[in-house]
């Protein structure tokens, strides 16, 4: 039976428009629509209300993944990575508040103007000690010093900030790999988490960003930021669909409390809200 008869064409166009306008992208949209059509056919579902519920179900399923941060080691080392301006430093500040135990920070962005001062401000606000050197210092050296300090001071978690960088810059990606290696050398299975911030307003390039960063330093979780804006963050679906890297947290503002564990169902519902 041809499910998509003329009367339903509008419904499917609308579904496609919602998904694409939310930055889900052409490929993942096609996959979701095909899955939905298939299931609707099998279960003989025709009401657009039921179809909408089914769509949310499929989207939620695609997004579902482990959201916990593994903070079982002492110290747990978390490396924060991502493209310029996506919210790394701010997210670190919020994580101090969010995580249990003693949290320490490493000012690993030794490049950008006032990057160290920005992190130090967050350190003061949240009471987290910050390991820092002067601007222009070697990022890997700061990371090394910070891991050492975290061990010596018995910190529970060490959050390592890094400079923003474009995945197209081979030398900068190499620098990030070096930072990771230096941490690894100090603590064999560290970094225990490599969290990547992705701006919710990012279009299809977000998928490329995640793939390149994952290839370079391995990404254990995505933090979708700036969801308090107009963007729906549909790129998260494309990321989940094509990389399988879990979305672990969402950031919904600039204040310290604006960081929450990712809820796949809530996110899917908001997408079709």
């Amino acid at each position: 039976a041809e499910f998509r008869d003329a009367g339903d064409e509008e419904f499917w166009e609308r579904v496609e428009e919602i998904l694409i306008s939310s930055d889900v992208g052409v490929n993942t949209t096609a996959k979701l629509v095909a899955e939905l059509e298939q299931e609707a056919l099998e279960k003989n579902i025709t009401s657009s209300d039921q179809l909408r519920k089914l769509m949310i179900e499929h989207a939620a399923r695609m997004l579902e993944g482990p959201v916990e941060l593994d903070i079982s080691r002492k110290p747990t080392v978390v490396l924060m990575v991502g493209v310029n301006g996506t919210g790394k430093t701010t997210t670190i500040g919020k994580l101090v508040n969010y995580l249990p135990g003693e949290v320490m920070l490493a000012a690993g962005d030794t490049f950008r103007a006032a990057a160290i001062e920005q992190l130090q401000t967050w350190g003061e606000r949240t009471g987290a000690p910050v390991v820092a050197r002067q601007r222009g210092a070697d990022a890997a050296a700061v990371a090394h010093e910070a891991v050492e300090a975290a061990q010596q001071q018995n910190a529970d978690v060490l959050l390592v900030d890094t400079a923003g960088r474009l995945h197209t810059k081979i030398n900068l990606m190499a620098e990030l790999e070096k930072v990771r290696r230096v941490i690894e050398r100090r603590i064999p299975d560290a970094p225990h988490e490599v969290l990547m911030t992705v701006d919710a307003t990012t279009g299809q390039n977000g998928l490329r960003q995640v793939k390149m960063f994952a290839e370079s330093v391995g990404v254990t979780g995505i933090i979708l930021t700036k969801l308090d804006g107009t963007a729906k963050g549909g790129i998260a679906l494309a990321i989940a669909n094509e990389t399988g890297i879990p979305i672990k947290m969402i950031s919904v503002g600039e204040k310290v409390g604006d960081l929450h564990p990712f809820d796949a169902r809530e996110f899917a519902e908001a997408l079709f809200g």
């Binding site: 996506t86 307003t201 700036k226 804006g229 107009t230 963007a231 729906k232 600039e254």
Partner: protein, 292 residues
């Protein structure tokens, strides 16, 4: 590339007669996909494709170009028309100082752009002056001051206590008194759904009546670029854009969408983190990038 995809879609068509309706359907599908993958706004794509369809339907299949090449030529022309032909060079206020206010979403590159623009105009013989109106972000003022020191451009600041509009107004007076002729006002990043922040932007603009307001937009911005731009147009009436992080590999469909919907041009391109990586934006370079 789009050309390759179109040639595949039109495989077998040779130089005789016109493009059939079925062939046009095939090519418009490819064009639509290419533009959506490039982050061009859904609504803008719809309109664009229908324009191309109109031109392509019944188009005489040329003996010189393959049908695919012909359609690419139509698409290139339509894109060029949309982006606006030539670079929009800076204009200066008839009575100095020229005041430029920068606005935009969080993290898109305003503060960095402020420095770049200062360096750019100094090379044009102006004496730039920076005003730090971001009273929210930790170390934002510090950031602009470090940039100012690096470039040897003065930075006006009153810290984070006064309102941005008061700082802007007094900073402008200080610039005038100091004989500076090009003032750049850096503002805090903000989301368009934050009514208070959008109202604040309107107030800052009202207080200093800038010669130009520029929307600083990250080239990776996706489908919501239009909604964002329209809001900034309503509250800040920007007359041009700075497209940032062009040194990445984002296709940049957001730029096309915003130009089409707001009628405002992209004036500048930021192509790196260094202060020197900044120039006028040349629209014709964008078409190829968007088509991929």
């Amino acid at each position: 590339t789009l050309g390759e995809r179109l040639n595949t879609a039109l495989d077998g068509v040779r130089g005789s007669g016109n493009l059939t309706e079925d062939q046009v359907k095939k090519v418009t599908r490819e064009i639509r996909l290419a533009l959506l993958e490039a982050d061009v706004n859904y609504g803008v794509v719809k309109e664009f494709v229908s324009n191309v369809r109109e031109r392509a339907t019944g188009a005489e299949v040329s003996k010189a170009l393959s049908p695919g090449q012909q359609v690419v030529k139509i698409v290139d022309e339509e894109l060029a028309n949309l982006m606006g032909g030539t670079a929009h060079k800076l204009t200066f206020a008839s009575r100095p100082p020229t005041v430029v206010m920068l606005a935009g979403l969080n993290g898109h590159g305003k503060t960095t752009t402020a420095g770049k623009l200062a360096l750019f105009v100094r090379k044009l013989g102006k004496s730039p002056y920076l005003i730090a109106c971001d009273t929210y972000r930790p170390a934002a003022i510090d950031q602009l001051q470090q940039i100012g020191r690096e470039l040897n451009v003065p930075v006006y600041t009153e810290g984070t206590e006064p309102t941005p509009e008061d700082i802007a107004e007094r900073g402008l007076k200080a610039a005038r008194d100091g004989g500076y002729d090009f003032v750049i006002v850096d503002t805090a990043g903000r989301q368009v759904l934050d009514a208070d922040m959008m109202e604040e932007l309107k107030r800052v603009r009202g207080r200093i009546k800038p010669h130009s307001v520029m929307l600083v937009l990250d080239v990776v911005t996706g489908q919501n670029a239009v909604e964002v731009a329209q809001a900034f147009q309503e509250y800040a009436d920007f007359d041009g854009m700075v497209l940032t992080k062009l040194d990445g590999d984002a296709r940049g469909g957001a730029a096309l969408s915003v130009v089409k919907v707001t009628g405002r041009p992209v004036r500048f391109a930021s192509e790196g983190e260094k202060m020197s990586e900044f120039d006028y934006f040349y629209p014709d370079r964008m078409a190829g990038r968007i088509l991929g």
